[in-house]
Symmetry: C2
Subunit: 367 residues, 2 copies
């Protein structure tokens, strides 16, 4: 059984437990997760009786044959409608759908197709499955973890190469550094950067999500780099903050503080740990040093086919950690107008110690 | 008045004409279009009385101040809910929303917030505005056209440089060429490639949407490159097909055929032209040469903040062209197992001749 087939099997069990005869999966990342299909148009009908159907349009007939060899293929320009009609033909009683993904217009169109296809006969009853597939996706299998390892390695290597070549030096602009980091990740095999790379120098490093601009790197600056690589569709996410030239005392002080908080956060990643408590463990370190108000965001988040996915690790999070979750730990201290530090790794929660996927050193790097 | 303010003014007129007191814009690209905001979380309340509200979360307070200086700012983690509550406080009678964007869960949450905020008072009546903002976006203003010109120039230059450096030669792989093209566009100032760059060599060129893989470029191959650059959020889109080494007669034949079809399609881009007829004009050239069945997709599509947007130019399209529309013209002939040709430009429809933004030659390039 392929990984994708195993994942469909798990969804089938969820569907049966909820009294559904089938689930119409429209979220494209969920479709990818459940089939391996990477095209831009596809939907999946998972049936409790095992007769699944994958729908896409004519552009992807060949690709679907290669990527989804183990699911019956339905080629139609109106993918979702065609699968809905097939569900009616298959006498589906209760049909699950993704209410967090389907738009209001999409639901109206689906209801119309079901009624038309039923032609006076029984119309399937629609019931939301909520984020059932996302809940599955929060726990990574070995294939996914391997993709994340490779994505993290690409980002690690890109940064190491740029640092070794002296690309991170005073006189260059944030934009130049960001573009080189992106280009290097692509050259190392990334499909794309995980998100718009953040390069923030000097006072800009105090802005958590600064967009790189023409700001010139200067001697004595903090340089904060938040970036990642996508491999097999899986996103890595890392942040390192370095100092250009000699580090001032205040820079060493907040760097060591953030590093200590980050270590505490990583150590708190255990199976069964409450995500609010994991955040609190790392946050306490910063708050006790009097910088609580300068740590303005959550501690971390899940990563996978999306750069932000379940679980959220923060004060407003909910739930506990489970083995196989891929998460970031990324505390920061930001002093407005002066500079800020964030240190972020991607890790896998395990029954033992968490597996650290971001391997770049967290010693303060003075370039 | 800024461009963004002009665009909000146009939407205000549409809203008033439809009897709406306000429109809640949730589609992030529509929000960007109407405000200039480029962050990942934002929504906009456009009110017919002119008191607009822009909502985003605390990460973007500074950015919103810079990018959206002319709209009152509301900072709240739950952006849409906060704007909805503000609409209730402003005694909105009929509230427009984007039913093609809002999910089923999103609508349910919106209805709850409206009822809660009304606290027993009058609850605004919801009415879909459909794709009102997208309809505005189909007609580009001069700022948008200038961004598209720059996006097209980046793609043109990247290809010219790679060709001049001999990067498109036998022995290299599709993936290598694709990554170099992407990296070059970034180095030339693109924010990102417009989409996953297509590099298709030899028989792969007969697959309209081939994903680049480790296929090695060989002497005598067609090499099809479909790619674009994003600048200011605007997407360029171009395809060129070259021959590596000497071109065989069959290759020259289908190349000239596609070029003639493409020229006919470009010549048909006139204000008031029916999009189905524009497609038919180009398609006829290919069909009359006996290759109708080998041209398996539509002739073109609008481009802008999205790589595919209105208008669609194809057999299933609807509507007529208007001055200021940005469209692609991209016929192709694909001979399965042998090879295919596609030639694609991005152009602006004008009252006069269309303005050609893709400036790379369409002569058959033999490298």
């Amino acid at each position: 059984m392929t990984r994708a087939a195993e994942r469909r099997e798990a969804l089938r069990i969820t569907a049966a437990a909820r009294g559904l005869d089938a689930v119409l999966v429209t979220n494209l990342l969920n479709v990818r997760y459940l089939t391996g299909f990477t095209g831009s148009n596809g939907a999946l009908l998972v049936r409790t009786d095992g007769r699944d159907l994958f729908g896409t349009d004519g552009r992807y007939t060949t690709q679907a044959g290669v990527q989804v060899p183990d699911v019956e293929l339905l080629v139609d320009r109106a993918t979702v409608s065609a699968l809905a009609a097939a569900a009616v033909r298959g006498r589906t009683g209760r049909l699950g759908y993704e209410s967090h993904d389907l738009t209001v217009d999409g639901l109206a169109a689906l209801e119309k197709v079901l009624a038309d296809a039923a032609a006076g006969g029984a119309v399937p009853e629609l019931a939301s499955v909520r984020r059932a597939v996302e809940a599955q996706r929060a726990i990574k299998d070995e294939d996914e973890i391997e993709s994340l390892r490779r994505a993290c390695a690409v980002a690690d290597t890109a940064l190491a190469e740029l640092a070794a070549e002296g690309a991170l030096r005073p006189g260059r602009t944030e934009l130049e550094v960001g573009r080189e980091l992106d280009a290097r990740m692509l050259a190392l095999g990334a499909e794309a950067p995980s998100f718009e790379t953040i390069v923030a120098a000097g006072a800009n490093s105090a802005i958590p999500h600064h967009r790189p601009d023409s700001t010139v790197l200067r001697d004595g600056d903090f340089l904060k780099l938040d970036f990642g690589a996508t491999v097999d569709g899986y996103h890595s996410d890392m942040t390192r903050t370095v100092v250009l030239g000699d580090a001032a005392d205040w820079q060493r002080e907040i760097y060591e503080l953030v590093a200590a908080s980050q270590a505490a956060g990583r150590a708190a990643l255990a199976v069964g740990a409450d995500v609010v408590e994991v955040d609190a463990t790392a946050r306490r370190v910063i708050a006790e040093a009097g910088h609580g108000e300068h740590f303005t965001h959550g501690l971390g988040h899940g990563v996978g086919l999306e750069i932000h996915e379940a679980p959220g690790i923060g004060q407003l999070g909910a739930g506990t950690l489970a083995s196989g979750m891929a998460v970031t730990v990324e505390p920061g201290v930001y002093l407005p107008g002066r500079g800020g530090v964030r240190i972020e790794d991607t890790l896998i929660v395990t029954d033992d110690e968490p597996e650290l996927l971001t391997l770049t050193s967290k010693e303060l790097l003075v370039l």
